[in-house]
Amino acid sequence: MTMPMLLRGEIRKITTTKLPWTFLAVLVVIAALNAAIVAFGTEADGSKAFVATAADQQSLMAFAFNAMMGTSLFGAIAVAREYGHDTVVPMFLTSPNRTRAVLAQLAAILLAGAALAAAGQALIIAAVATALPQTPYGFLMSPGDVVQLLASATLAGAVGAVLGAGLAAVIRNVGGAVTAALLALFVIPPLAAQLISSAGSWIPTTLSGVIAGVGTDVSLWAALMAFVAWAVIPAAAGLIAVHRRDVT
């Protein structure tokens, strides 16, 4: 079995269930809500100052952290279900080389997470762009800003999906994996930032702001490296767990 063959099988696994389409439907709803906020929302003084500048619009549309959160749940559910339904058994029978099988699974989840996040960001940009003519301000972001938003959301989606998948490979239970993903993104980072002030620069919310161009806590390259580490560490933990345990 070659890696492309395994990856093809894993991608088909994802596309032949309702899970990605459900997440896509949620993204459509989120984009519509963003459009509604732009069209009908106002500041306390009744103005539309929250979309008055390119930076305001970029900040409003920045979807990276939300993408990471959403795809972490996607990755956690997709992989934990494999264990719950024992469909990992045929996976490891097809590829008894567990490293290769898990890497193919993670790669498929990464691609799906990236695609979902990119779609979500594109939908939000399109929805907000559609709603902006109803305000005194037009679409002010440059093409470069748009590309940065799309790239950051895509990366965040990939990182989130792999983070969730890695945790699910360790925990092997949908409820537990989803809880772990939420703890990893919402509870542990703020706690760490409170305990060690410098840790605040390296938590997903801060890092996603930097790569989306709406934050400057650390350099872009440092943010990229740290962001990827949020995926690599749980993925490595999942791989080790799969190697150590029997498939039962």
Binding site: M5, G9, T17, H85, L93, N97
Partner: protein, 314 residues
Amino acid sequence: MYALEFENVTKRYGHEVVLDDLTFIVRPGVVTGFLGPNGAGKSTAMKILLDLAKAERGHATIGGTRYREMPDPAGAVGVVLEPNAFHPGRSGRNHLRILADGAGIDPGRITELLEAVELTQAADRHVGGYSLGMRQRLGLAAALLGDPPVLVLDEPGNGLDPQGIHWLRDLLRERAAAGGTVFVSSHLLAEVEHLADEIVVINHGRLVTTGALSTLQKIGTAVRTDAPDRLTQLVSAAGGTVDTGVEGELVVRGFGMAEIGDLACAAGIALHELAPQAGSLEELFIAWTHDDNSTAEDGPAEVGARTDKQGALL
């Protein structure tokens, strides 16, 4: 031609010994039934063979090679292990497509196999709506996808209707006749009796007996005497086993006819009948796996040999 070899396989879950020094061979060209009570370790043994579980000691090979070292495992070994290893929201056809994609198998096989297992009409329905028998058929289709020379099937007849059982029996016999290796665990003893040429019986993770079913079924001697209690005590003390047959005769296992005659003669017991006795697989299975835990305390059984409850080789 792939023989399956288990060599001194030992597996523990915590302090519980699930497989204990298990050694036997499954030959190609015959159907081998794998029998044992619930919890005997059959599924664990199969998982170790397929590298889904790790043995603490010993190893299992397919054609002399570990499963994980086979160049094309999906093309060499067809497996049915878990009856519900399907995503309920995925169609049967897509389940097979995923396996074909991963193993690089011609997708044309999918339609062919769906027809063979009579699932064509239900192929595009979600597996969650399938009956147990339909899921079992889908599992068999998955096992046959790569047209493998080796079949390792855990309870493949579960949930199948009589036509399905008949189809499965013919299929496995055909595969074995063509030189394939067919290793089937089952609780349906009557079915195994119809299907298997050879059997492997385990209990408490240890080998109880293995060999040709027809030979094993003849291992036993019907004895009639007017001193059945004394003869029973005598044979038991010497390490044999004694059961009561359907017509009230004693069925002695563990000794040949001459040895039984000698024992009786030395004790001054008159024998009225001494004849080879063929037992049903069910009778034999119950005798072999009668749970007195003594097998777990004795030494390991030898390949191709039969041990009785006290561990004496027959």
